[in-house]
Symmetry: C2
Subunit: 446 residues, 2 copies
């Protein structure tokens, strides 16, 4: 995220101090709304509202969503209630929905009566869609036309609807029940003869997503077909909204960070690393560290029972455990990312397990060789040293199998594979690894 | 990636067998190119070429990029050379560039003479841009206009240029030296009075990226400003191409997978998990497992020197190492993802280190408590048991510090933090952790 430009802050403060509304309007008009947000982010809440108040409400509503979400929430809480009604009304439906989901429900109930009735209905509909569904991602602002008009009429109607820039390029063709029957792009309308009928230009049965479809399916479809937007329909195939490319891009970026954090056993921060509060960060890391600690404690308890006369085996404990953990971590990450990008599906499990079995054999064999060489330096005999390579082979194979099976199991019972797999992979691989080591040593040496 | 639809394959084969070119044309005309690619993916190379040959070359060029990259390469290698010239000529510049980068350079030199001269120049220009730069992501197909014409003339010119759908919605305004002076959207042109001048409608000094700018900066800018495309300029501010939203989305998705794999100590596969060859997968995982094994071997060698009379300490070795490794892994992942999404910059290092120091203290303290309880069960005295919580606190703090410093160090010397950090974090945390454990035990018990 670009950081605030500190150079412009004093200039802005002078203009605010002098009440130079014209100057401020000029600055805000010339620049992209995102740039205005970047430049003014360093101002205090009261100063920021003073700046926004100089601008027409349409412009305020354009700039507002470009502040970071915590800042938007702060600004809403600090705001005079009379400002909020018009601002909320003018904000794009999807940005507004994102903001309202972050606010205290009581505050939302306080704000809603300030909003025009038609908008209020839209807001409640979007808020009722569960997080992570197509409905929660979509906006209700889209361009639609009937099928029985000409391209020339269609362009004239679009001119008078003047939909915002997000949604004018893709136009959805609806029948009298608002059912989605076709799709036409502004490009097609512009290039067509003005007398051509929309019904002849349109593509029939356009690709769409259902209101309740999970967001990763929305991402997959939009990315696969290179769409600017994808229509969202209800169970009767009626158009209820669209998901636009920019929201999909934001979702993908956020999901990628969340997934990486989950794989590293951190509950997703959901905000920027430097902005996250220390208390919430301690909790989001601490809870998983504690779970991982509990699994390591089990390993310690198993190990405490081991009274082997072969002291040289102790030195190899971390090596044996790490070999299993590292290969298990690799397998789990590969399967988790492949599931989340749609590269493989649950039904591919036999192929996945076959692959990981073969890979475990190859990788375990590969590591067993240097393991044997190292063991020769410490073991009393060359035969005794064989404990190490055999354990490494077994532990790596178990690591790849556990690492690939667990994400599949968690996905199949509806749990998030990224968040759940890591602690369980560690727990199983560590404990079984130690037990395997003890058993192989027992059989071969005692 | 959607898998091939096996149901249609027999139908397609019948049509191919009967030489039903009209039927095949019909199928390919009605469906989205991505859907045609999905449906026909299960055909043999020769059958696929037979299908493509029934279609006009424009349509072939639309469908071709929707096959997976390995399949595209296979198809090109299997192709009659006479097919390739026109196909390559008609493909969108960015898709073509992606494909040619994957081919053997000798094959590229064989194909290029078959392509029209003007296109050849474009191809060489794009191929000369280094991987991961804006230039390698961009397409040379964009709509441009001079500033001194009216909106009505502008729309008429766009009609005659009829640029492809990727690039008609954003129009770049160039001066006589092809320098980028402004930007206007098709929406603005349609909504404006037809007699309004482009120079009055356009936004001046549009946001652009330089040809050599790294792709993550391109992603950041396009995402921040919600653009459909971002213009790419050379050192004289001349427009050389655009990067479109769909290519940015593909890049983000690929980069996210690559990063997750790097963090799990896997060289990015660069292809789908199930499609990757076993040999290359063994190599991409094995090389990092071997490096991690070498660091674990060092730990074993240090541990072999430890001749402590306190046997109960052995059971806690995996627990101590895991505590450091887990917290270090968390910190490294947080810093790596924050750097790669632009959430924080190298210059934020003092804040990052301060945060991680405090977090290390908190998390280490948190884990020290159950650590002490567990130690009480095995240690001879309550005072001796203190070795465990003290070591845990030290190891966790070291983990958070090493985990956050190393990605910053690697980024500052130009190495990929995601790929390099993991093995080094493990190596340092494991060895220092064991040494710390041995030292604390020595001081407190002997």
């Amino acid at each position: 995220m670009p950081t605030a430009n500190p150079i412009l802050i004093p200039e802005l403060r002078v203009m605010l101090g002098e009440g130079d509304a014209n100057g401020l309007r000029e600055v805000a008009r010339e620049l992209h709304p995102a740039t205005v947000a970047d430049f003014s982010e360093g101002l205090e809440d009261a100063e920021l509202w003073q700046l926004l108040d100089c601008l027409p409400v349409e412009r305020q509503a354009e700039i507002f969503p470009y502040f970071s979400m915590p800042r938007q929430v702060e600004l809403v809480q600090a705001a005079d209630r009379s400002h909020l009604g018009p601002l909320i009304e003018w904000m794009a439906a999807d940005n507004r929905d994102d903001l309202l989901r972050e606010l205290d429900p009581d505050l939302v109930e306080e704000i809603l009566p300030l909003v025009a009735k038609a908008e209020r209905h839209d807001i409640r509909m979007l808020l009722s869609c569960p997080e992570g569904s197509a409905g929660a991602l979509m906006t209700t602002e889209y361009a639609s036309l009937p099928a029985d008009i000409t391209a020339g009429e269609a362009v004239a109607r679009l001119r008078s609807q003047a939909p915002n820039s997000e949604s004018i390029y893709y136009i959805y063709v609806l029948d009298s029940d608002r059912k989605l029957v076709g799709f036409v792009s502004l490009r097609d309308l512009i290039l067509a003869r003005p007398t051509a009928l929309v019904s002849d230009l349109m593509q029939r049965d356009p690709i769409s997503v259902r209101l309740e479809e999970p967001s990763d399916r929305v991402v997959e479809k939009l990315a696969r077909f290179d769409f600017l937007a994808i229509p969202v329909v209800d169970e009767h195939n009626r158009l209820v909204g669209i998901v636009t490319h920019d929201d999909v891009l934001d979702t993908v970026r956020q999901d990628a960070t969340d997934d990486a954090q989950r794989i590293a056993a951190i509950s997703p921060l959901g905000e920027s690393y430097l902005e996250a509060a220390l208390v919430s960060m301690t909790w989001k890391r601490g809870v998983w560290l504690a779970i991982l600690f509990a699994t390591a404690a089990l390993t310690a308890m198993v190990l405490a029972k081991w009274e082997s006369p072969h002291v040289w085996l102790v030195a190899f404990i971390p090596l044996v455990i790490a070999s299993g953990g590292n290969s298990g971590n690799q397998s789990a990450t590969l399967v988790i990312t492949a599931l989340s990008t749609g590269d493989c599906k649950l039904s591919d499990w036999p192929r996945i397990l076959r692959r990981e079995f073969v890979l475990g054999l190859l990788l375990g064999g590969l590591l067993a060789i240097p393991g044997y060489c190292l063991a020769l330096a410490y073991a009393p005999t060359a035969a005794a040293a064989l404990v190490i390579p055999l354990t490494i082979l077994g532990v790596v194979m178990m690591g790849t199998m556990v690492g690939s099976v667990l994400p599949l199991v968690f996905r199949s019972i509806g749990l998030d594979p990224a968040l759940m797999s890591n602690p369980f992979v560690s727990a199983i691989v560590d404990i079984v690894g130690i037990v395997l080591y003890m058993l192989i040593a027992l059989v071969m040496l005692d």
